[in-house]
C-alpha cells in the first residue's frame, strides 16, 4: 500500500529540518573560524610601536628601519650604542616626552604646548645619538629629525619570539613561544599523569570489577566530568598548590606541575570512559580463546585486550590532551601565569587559553594586543582541530581494520 501523501510530506519536512540543523551547525563553525582569523590577521600588517607614537632619530643617523625586539633592548638600555643595531659608533641617548621639561622651560614650550613640536624638533636635531619616543601628533612637516619605521611583526617572530609583553612601550613584544610551550608542557604533563592512571581504571572497570563495584564507580567518574572547572581550580589552589610548595620547597606553588595535576584529574573521566568503552569491544570469544590456552587474566589483558583496543585507547589519550589544551579557568588559577620560557615543571607557566582569558578584557578592540590574542585563539583552534582530526582518522582506520 503506498504511503498517504501527507505522511510523505511530513517525512520530507523532518528531513529538511534535520538537514537545516546540520548546515546551521557547520555554518556556525565556519563563521567562528572566519571571525578568529579576520580579527587576528591584521596583526602582521601593523607596527609594533604603541598606537599614535613614533620613534624619531637625528637626521645624520643612517638607521631607517628597526626591529621591535631591538627597540625594547634599546629602551631597556641593554643596547647602548648605535653600532650594535647597524648604525654609526655613537652612544644611544633615550628621549621620552617628559624629558622636554628638563630642557625647555614651561614658558618656552608655551601655555598650550603650542611650541612643543618645534622644541622636539630642535632637541632631535641637536643630539646626534638621540632616539625619541613621542606622539605622532607633535611631528609636523617642518620636523628636522627623521622618523624611523619599525619593522612589522612577522609570523616567524610571532611564533618563535621568546618575549610576550603585549603592552610594553615603546614597542610591544609579541613572541608567543613561551605561551605555546607553556600550553604544551602543561598538557603533556597532564597526559603523562592521567593516561596511566586512566588506563588502569579503565582496565579495572572493563575487565576486573564486578557489576556491583562498577555501578558504584561509574557515577562517580561521571560526576567528576560534571564538576565546573572553577571548582577544580579552587581545589588546586587550596590543596595542590600549597602541597607542591611544601613538598618541593619552592617559593611559590603555582607551577606547571600544579596545572598538569589539575588537568590530569579533569581529563580522567574522558580517558576512562573512552578507554573503557573501547576495551569492552574486545570480543568475549577472543578473551576466552586466550584463557583456554592457559594464559592468565593479566596476560590476556595485555596480550589480547589492550592490542585489540589500542586505537580506542589512543583516541582516549588524544581526546584527553584535547581536554587539557583547551582548559582555561582551572589552569589560570593554579599555574602562576608567568609568560616566560618554561625550564622545569616547578616554574610558573602560562597557557594560551589562560592568556586569552586574562588579557582580552584589557586589550582595546582592534588594537595590536587584541589582534595578537585572536591569533593565539586561532592557534588554539588549529591545535584542537588537529587533535580531533587525528582521533577521527584513528577511529576510521580502526573500523576498516576490524571488518
Amino acid at each position: 500500500m503506498p504511503k498517504p501523501f501527507y505522511k510523505k510530506l511530513f517525512e520530507k519536512i523532518i528531513e529538511g529540518i534535520l538537514a537545516l540543523s546540520g548546515s546551521i551547525t557547520s555554518l556556525a563553525v565556519l563563521l567562528i573560524v572566519i571571525f578568529l582569523f579576520k580579527e587576528g590577521l591584521g596583526l602582521f600588517n601593523r607596527s609594533p610601536i604603541s598606537e599614535g607614537y613614533v620613534l624619531a632619530v637625528n637626521k645624520s643617523n643612517p638607521i631607517s628601519k628597526i626591529d621591535a625586539n631591538l627597540v625594547k633592548q634599546i629602551f631597556d638600555q641593554e643596547i647602548t650604542n648605535w653600532e650594535k643595531v647597524g648604525g654609526k659608533k655613537d652612544s644611544i641617548i633615550l628621549f621620552h616626552l617628559d624629558d622636554i621639561n628638563s630642557i625647555y622651560t614651561e614658558a618656552q614650550i608655551g601655555e598650550n604646548l603650542e611650541n612643543l613640536p618645534t622644541c622636539i624638533s630642535n632637541v632631535v636635531d641637536s643630539i646626534g645619538g638621540i632616539v625619541a619616543f613621542v606622539p605622532k601628533s607633535y611631528i609636523k612637516s617642518d620636523f628636522k629629525g627623521k622618523v624611523i619605521e619599525p619593522v612589522n611583526i612577522t609570523p616567524k617572530e610571532f611564533l618563535l619570539g621568546k618575549e610576550w609583553y603585549p603592552t610594553a612601550e615603546p614597542s610591544a613584544q609579541m613572541g608567543i613561544l613561551p605561551i605555546l610551550l607553556g600550553t604544551l608542557w602543561v598538557s603533556l604533563g597532564a597526559i603523562l599523569l592521567s593516561l596511566p592512571l586512566g588506563l588502569a581504571v579503565a582496565i579495572y572497570m572493563a575487565e576486573i570489577a564486578n557489576a556491583r563495584v562498577r555501578n558504584i564507580f561509574k557515577p562517580i567518574i561521571e560526576l567528576l566530568a560534571g564538576i565546573p572547572s572553577v571548582i577544580y581550580g579552587f581545589f588546586g589552589l587550596v590543596v595542590i598548590v600549597p602541597l607542591i610548595q611544601t613538598v618541593f620547597n619552592l617559593p611559590v606553588g603555582e607551577t606547571a606541575l600544579a596545572g598538569s595535576i589539575i588537568l590530569a584529574i579533569m581529563a580522567l573521566p574522558t580517558i576512562i570512559t573512552i578507554a573503557e568503552d573501547s576495551l569492552r569491544t574486545t570480543p568475549r570469544s577472543m578473551k576466552e580463546a586466550s584463557l583456554a590456552l592457559g594464559a592468565s587474566r593479566w596476560q590476556t589483558i595485555y596480550r589480547i585486550v589492550i592490542p585489540y583496543s589500542i586505537s580506542g585507547i589512543t583516541a582516549a589519550a588524544i581526546l584527553g590532551i584535547g581536554r587539557a589544551i583547551g582548559e582555561t579557568m582551572a589552569v589560570l588559577m593554579v599555574t602562576g601565569n608567568a609568560a616566560v620560557m618554561p625550564h622545569s615543571f616547578l616554574e610558573p607557566v602560562r597557557t594560551i587559553p589562560a592568556t586569552i582569558a586574562a588579557e582580552l578584557g584589557e586589550s582595546p578592540k582592534d588594537g595590536l594586543h587584541y589582534q595578537a590574542l585572536f591569533i593565539l585563539g586561532s592557534i588554539l583552534f588549529i591545535m584542537t582541530l588537529i587533535i580531533n582530526l587525528t582521533v577521527e582518522y584513528i577511529s576510521s582506520r580502526n573500523k576498516l581494520g576490524k571488518r
Partner: protein, 250 residues
Amino acid sequence: MAKIETLDANLFYGDFHALKNISMQMEENTVTALIGPSGCGKSTYLRLFNRMNDLIDSTRITGQILVDGEDIYRKNINVDELRIKVGMVFQKPNPFPKSIFENVAYGLRVNGEKNKSYIEDKVVQSLKQSALWNEVSDKLTKSAFELSGGQQQRLCIARALAISPSVILMDEPASALDPLSTAKIEELIHELKKEYTIVIVTHNMQQASRVSDYTAFFYLGELVEYGQTVEIFTKPKLKHTENYITGRFG
C-alpha cells in the same frame, strides 16, 4: 582409570539450575559426543572441564570433576595449568588478530616458552597435525583473518594442539562451516583420537554417529542416556532418546 570422571555435578546460573546431578566417565583416547536440543546444557557441561564457567559471575558448582583422577575444582588448583592439559576449540573460529604463526605460538609464549627453535618446530608440527600446513606454509606471517572460515577453525585446532594438551574440548566446531570444511574437521578428529581424548558438542546427529565412540544425550540439564554411539543410534534404551535421534523433536 577414566580420563575424565564426573561425579554428581550440578551447576547453577544464579537461581537457574542448568546441570542436574550429572555423573559419567570418559575413557582415554575416545571421542565422546554430547547431543541434545539447544539450551539443554551441553556447552555448560563441556566448559566445566576447563573451568570456563568460572568467567561467568554468579555460577555455582557442586559435585566433582576428575581429570586424570585429580579434582579440578579443589582449592589451590592451578587453573592455567589445567587449561594447558585440557584444550578447547570454540563454536565460531576465533583466531587472534595476529599472524598465523603467532596464533599458534600464542599458547607457548604465554606459558613461558622462550626457545625460538622449539616454538618454530611446535608451530609447524601443530599445523601439520591439524592438516593446515600445506595451505599456509608459505604465508605464516599473514594475518589469520585472511584464511577462510574452515581454515581458521583448523588454525584454532592447531593453536590448541601446540601446547600439548591431553584432552580437547570442541563446542560445535563445524557448525559455522561449509560441508567440505566440516568433512575435513571430522577427518581430523579421527586422526587426533589416537593421541587425545576428545569431547565434542554437536547438534548434527550424523556427525555424532560418524565421529564419536560414545554419545551422551542431554535434555533440560539432565543426562538422559549415555553409552556407545552404535548402541545409542541403533537401539537406544529410552523412547525419549530415540525420538530425538530420529528427529521427531528438538
